[in-house]
């Protein structure tokens, strides 16, 4: 696998350029969060602004209920992730291995859920949640988040199971396993990269969502992080320092998880195809 040097250099140049483009906006947010005195705009291009201070970050923890929001977000996201992974793991398996009645319609239905402009579902969704007395409960939020993340997760799990040869389960069945045991003991461990990705998606869907959350959670003690973040925003008096600092803190956990799991991303994210 030898390559001409110029080609290798070219690869590095391209990757370097795009890496800078990919990361730059994030640095922009960090810069604003460090800028003293609530200024969104400045002609200063330096990454660390003059008189940089961590004051906004300190204030988030001391003057605002940042820790409460963080805890609420963690609670909601963890439950949604766990539920999402379990449901997608079994559901995706059924779609991959069984040609049951409603199989094709089901797969198509999953995709159609992605087609509806989500903002239009808000009003009926709210009415439903209010009638079921789920306003100001995490339960309502968790069910909604699970439902939003599930279609993609099911699709993705199904695609991954498709790449696992059925012969493995057949062998296990011959060895005396039940269908469920064959799934649980043989296929599921092999699907771990996809499970990791499913978990990541469910987590992301709930960690950074605010439109639905704003409708359901109407008490500041129940706020999740994005709602706390939004409370710094107003049409003509946004507290940009807090907003940027909170943005950084909201993004950080997702990024850390993303980066930690990035090696699974490539092997685990399969939307179908490549089946033998």
């Amino acid at each position: 696998m030898k390559e001409p040097r110029i080609l290798t250099l070219g690869r590095h140049l391209v990757l370097l350029l795009f890496s800078v483009i990919a990361v730059y906006p994030l640095f922009n947010v960090i810069t604003i969060s460090l800028r003293p005195g609530d200024k969104l705009r400045s002609t200063d291009l330096s990454l660390i602004p003059d008189g940089a201070s961590l004051q906004s970050y300190v204030a988030l923890f001391t003057e605002h209920a940042f820790l409460t929001w963080l805890w609420n977000s963690i609670l909601v996201s963890v439950v949604v992730t766990a539920t999402g992974v379990v449901l997608a793991a079994v559901g995706g398996y059924a779609f991959s291995r069984f040609k049951f009645v409603g199989h094709d319609a089901g797969m198509l239905a999953l995709m159609t859920t992605q087609m509806f402009p989500a903002t239009m579902l808000l009003l009926p969704l709210y009415i439903m949640v209010a009638k079921l007395h789920l306003v100001n409960t995490f339960l309502g939020l968790m069910v909604l988040y699970t439902a939003t993340a599930l279609p993609f997760c099911l699709w993705q799990m199904k695609g991954f199971y498709d790449t696992i040869p059925t012969s493995l389960e057949e062998a296990a069945r011959i060895d005396g396993c039940s269908r469920f045991q064959a799934f649980y003991r043989v296929v599921l461990p092999l699907a771990s990269p996809a499970l990791v990705i499913t978990a990541l998606f469910s987590f992301m869907a709930s960690w950074s969502e605010y439109i639905v959350a704003a409708q359901i959670l109407q008490e500041s003690d129940l706020f999740t992080l994005p709602l706390g973040l939004k409370s710094f925003q107003a049409s003509m008096s946004t507290q940009w320092g807090y907003y940027a600092a909170a943005s950084v803190l909201v993004s950080l956990p997702v990024m850390v998880i993303f980066i930690a799991l990035s090696r699974y991303l490539v092997s685990g994210l399969t939307l179908g195809a490549v089946k033998e």
Binding site: T8, V143, S208, V254
Partner: protein
Amino acid sequence: MKRLCWLIPLLLLGCGEDRDHVTVTLWHQMVPAERAILDQLVLEYESAHPRIRIRALYKETEELRSGFQASALAGSGPELVYGPSDVIGPFQTMGIIRDMTPWLPAVEQGQYVEGSLTWLPSRDPDRADKPELLQVGDRIGNHLALVLNGNYIPQPPATDLDFIRLAQENTLDLDGDGRIDRYGIAWNFTEPFFVIPFLTGYGSWVFDKDDPSQTTPDLDNPGAVAAYRFVLDLRDKYKVMPASCDYEDADGLFKEGRSAMIINGDWSWGDYLARPELKAYVAPLPIVAATGLPMGPMVATKGYSLNVNAEGQQADEAMAVVRFLTSPPAQRRFMEELKTIPSRVELLNDPLLESDATLRASVTQMRNGRPMPVVAELRAVWDAMKPRYQALLGGSETPEQAAHGMQADALARIATMNQELQPTAFVPVFKTLLFLGLAGLLWWQRKSFGLFVRDWRRHRLAYVFVLPSFVVIAATIVYPFFYNIMLSLSNMSLRHFQSWEMIGLQNYVQVFQESIFWSVLLKTIIWTVVNVGFHVVLGVFLAIVINGPVVGKSLYRVLLIIPWAVPSYITALTWRGMFNAEYGAVNLIGHQLFNLPMIDWMKDPLAAFIACITTNVWLGFPFMMVIALGGLQAIPLELYEAARVDGASRWTQFRKITLPLLKPVMLPAVTLGTVWTFNQLNVIWLVSNGGEPSDKTHILVSYVYKAVFNLYQYGYGAALSMVIFFILLLFSITFLKRTSATKAVY
């Protein structure tokens, strides 16, 4: 399962109400400094009334409006809402706020300054002569005035001529690089609210001044044209202000000392006065010499309204809270700390109003102003003014054209908003057809049910596995989906908010009849194709580059997926800032490093659309890259070796091996990507600030969003949503069939 049991009480947290407590919920849109005082007042009230709990919740303007509408429709919501009086008209028309007269007898009404109590005629035809009290104000204001930097301008201008002179003297290129370093004046150019003082200065107004109901727009008159010309002259003839400027630009310029004057509202003054280096002070806007009239802003009351769903004791306690929050001591605290003008007669003689320079200027400015009409029509007027005003400043329309267009648009929008769609004779037939169709569908699929019963035994595991997911998705999607279908066939709108009924297909007819639908559809298709095209090409390209022998592969991969990892509403706002004309990184880098011209991205529709596309391309390429990388790694290396033995070039290898083997992997991702991009509301909304300039950057979803939320066209919006849904459904089915990717998907 047992281990999870401890979660259950946590999940139900917050739904239990204390029996012996009465909770009064208040949604407000107070800025942070106001919130601090409100919180103190709430604490005091609660300690004096141990049985009462006040839950005050901040909501952003639009969120408060749409959230309150939805919750009131669902029969719940906060007992009290606090905000400026411009939402009172629509709220009353929708029937979601209550008359407060029973709680505020005539004696007490007299204690409030005239105009701070908002009255509207009852909507009940039998009580039409009895006005309803719909808002109790705790302050008058929300008005614009001139704020000056005392270092540059010690004395405020008396007339517009002084104003121009002072602005010219303070527009300076200090370092001689050909770029202005200090402007004479700055303000928010994007909102028509900020142009009102110029209109009144030239003797114009937004509604016909002789119409007591203030519902007939009067936007096309010589005064308005003169006012727009004056604004254009400030920029082009006298060159005393930036070429384009939104709220944050103006605010930033003034705070950095790069603008000698700013026009801004009373909510912002405290922030400027608190910066000693600016020596900022507030002054009334100047008098227009040609007319002799002072520039007067729109003045609004801010106050409390009572939810229609608040009843009995709940309503009594809520009104007691209102009485406390609007009481003289409470108002005095706001007046002292935040320089607000009180709404209580008792406080009008307060020495502070005379002794405090800011309050004195504010009172003068307020007297020069005109009260904001509390009618729903004002919303339509703003909506009509905004795009034309932006076109005027963008140079694509003359003052005459803009004024003329505003008037025509305002009339059309008011007509749309007040449109009364009645059920046609066709409706019963239609209902029958709908029912028959549903029955037919069931009959057609009857075999499936039989099959299902037989299949159940064979594939029990499959059903058990799928059932939970199916239940969760169905529970959250099915009801809203059918509700939306119902809405799309109904006349739900401003005038039929609670009392809507089926009217047939009229909304759909309207969708297809309007030419704007087709032009926005075309734009949406361009948006989708360009975005997905770039996503795929960039994604595959980068995947191929990274998939070779590169040192630091995993580091690059981590950096390249960052756009995907960060929540998009944060990065979209960042990109908006980066495309800013004056401060944005895109222009600054382009100018400083490559000497490119500074482009005013948000002024020109095409440039703004390109900015949106760039943002979305940046957001979406990592996903495609990861998918492509997975596909590349699944291609056996032996294929390439064999090709090399046969003497195939790299290009041939790419065309004959890589592409065909990548295609099946990419197709499902492309389908999903298309659907997601088609419905990408966040990016368009945040980057172009809701379709600016002049509503020319909309795609279908953002257009629907705007139609529903600005003009209350719920039925129309639902119909358009259904159309979007069917377009995507049709596309997905044909695309997957054509490319025979169905096998991969199913």
